[in-house]
């Protein structure tokens, strides 16, 4: 537990001291989402209809782009060896790092998402469900992405490789995030979709740290 809190506290402190790195992700999210109206035209009906999809895809890309640094900095400066050699289970340490990553990327995205919804004139009825769906989806993305980040350590062009490895695994999260928001906008029950998102998160919670830890040990061999 000391190790978990220590890693979480240190990563949050590092993010806070390098605030420009963390804010880049949110800025990418906003700009990426704001590009669509330029490409598909400014028709209000169309924009309101594609808003859930645009928000979900932009969030997915922002989270994955920020994942490259998750283990890389520690790998390059030698701290990863110390993390692996800690008496605490490596899975717990990975979980702490993923949680810190979510706090510095997922959470700001959730805060910024209503801004995009406003930009697209998405009906306010969809907002609570959108926030709930993103709150369930972004931790899953951080968890699944951690596997890719651990696997690509030491590879050149690791960032692009992470996207190639992880994007296919994230499709289910994407589908149900958008489905939940669409259901809420159509006054249908969003709960089944949210439940599936919750189930995906619960499945990723034990599996991703375990797989990432194995990949990290391999990276140091």
């Amino acid at each position: 537990m000391t190790a978990f809190l220590g890693v979480l506290g240190r990563d949050l402190r590092l993010a806070l001291r390098q605030l420009s790195d963390a804010s880049l992700v949110v800025m990418f999210f906003v700009i990426c989402a704001a590009l669509f109206p330029f490409a598909v035209g400014p028709e209000p009906n169309l924009l309101a209809r594609i808003a859930p999809g645009v928000i979900a895809v932009a969030a997915l890309l922002s989270v994955l782009l920020s994942l490259e640094r998750l283990f890389l900095a520690d790998y390059e400066d030698g701290n990863l060896e110390l993390l692996v050699l800690s008496p605490a289970p490596l899975e717990v340490i990975v979980l702490a790092k993923v949680l810190a990553h979510w706090c510095t990327t997922g959470l700001p995205l959730i805060v910024a998402a209503p801004l995009i919804a406003l930009l697209y004139d998405m009906p306010a009825a969809g907002l609570p469900v959108m926030l709930a769906a993103l709150a369930l989806a972004t931790p899953s993305l951080s968890l699944i992405g951690a596997i890719g980040a651990a696997l690509t350590l030491g590879a050149r062009r690791g960032g692009v490789l992470i996207l190639l490895l992880v994007l296919p695994l994230c499709i289910s999260v994407l589908i149900f995030t958008v489905a939940a928001i669409d259901a809420a906008l159509a006054s249908l029950a969003a709960k089944p979709h949210l439940s599936i998102l919750g189930a995906l998160l619960l499945a990723a919670l034990p599996l991703a740290p375990w797989a990432s830890a194995a990949a990290l040990r391999l990276a140091l061999e």
Partner: protein, 214 residues
């Protein structure tokens, strides 16, 4: 008397056999100095002892029990100091050290003392990016004192240290050994480590290239 020993260790990196048939034994209070030219496997042996690498063959025993059976117990009794100091540039010296101690389940109580013993007391609040190479090295060494561990695995610990700091390191090593701690260190230069057994790794260099399966 507990014994840390390796038997018939073989280390393969890539396709190359680095060393083979290597035995060592290290009693409490003992020190083992690894010497040999570049690439003779000093760092590999240290990583192998830490559990970062798996030996291709052979056994690594603590008190007669294989260390791989209880990896968490083994990690709890060792400190590994690699080539990199791992000092985070945006954290202060004390914050770096508190984090490393926390990783080993230790409280922050020993941090001030550890910094003082490597003459870093007045640099505690200085950010890592402002420390010189030697100061970073001393901060990494202070890790050994902030959270106690029985076995110190030191990969060229003297690199970048001035004469006064080397003396300090020598003093800490002597104290650690007097308390029953063990040390394995690799070095090219002189290390004030006291009475040691020297393991020249070029004696175990594998002769011809290993036979390829294909």
């Amino acid at each position: 008397m507990s014994l840390f020993e390796g038997r018939e260790l073989i280390c393969i990196r890539g396709e190359r056999r680095v060393f083979a048939g290597l035995d060592f034994s290290l009693p409490a209070g003992g020190a083992l100095l690894l010497t040999g030219p570049n690439g003779s496997g000093k760092s590999s042996l240290l990583r192998l002892m830490a559990g970062l690498l798996k030996p291709a063959a052979g056994a690594l025993l603590w008190n007669g029990a294989p260390v791989g059976a209880e990896p968490e117990d083994h990690r709890a009794r060792l400190h590994y100091l690699g080539h990199q100091d791992g000092v985070k540039p945006v954290l202060s010296a004390a914050e770096n050290l508190v984090f490393w101690s926390g990783l080993r389940g230790a409280t922050a109580d020993g941090v001030a003392d550890a910094l003082a013993r490597f003459d870093l007391g007045n640099l505690a609040a200085v950010a890592g990016r402002l420390l010189s190479a030697g100061q970073k090295r001393r901060l990494a060494l202070a890790r050994l004192l902030a959270a106690p561990a029985e076995l110190w695995l030191l990969d060229e610990p003297g690199v970048g240290l001035d004469a006064a700091s080397l003396d300090r390191l020598g003093g800490e090593i002597a104290r650690h050994r007097k308390d029953g701690g063990r040390i394995v260190a690799s070095t090219h230069g002189d290390l004030p480590i006291g009475q040691t057994e020297t393991l020249a790794l070029d004696d175990f260099a594998a002769g011809p290239a290993m036979e390829s399966d294909w």
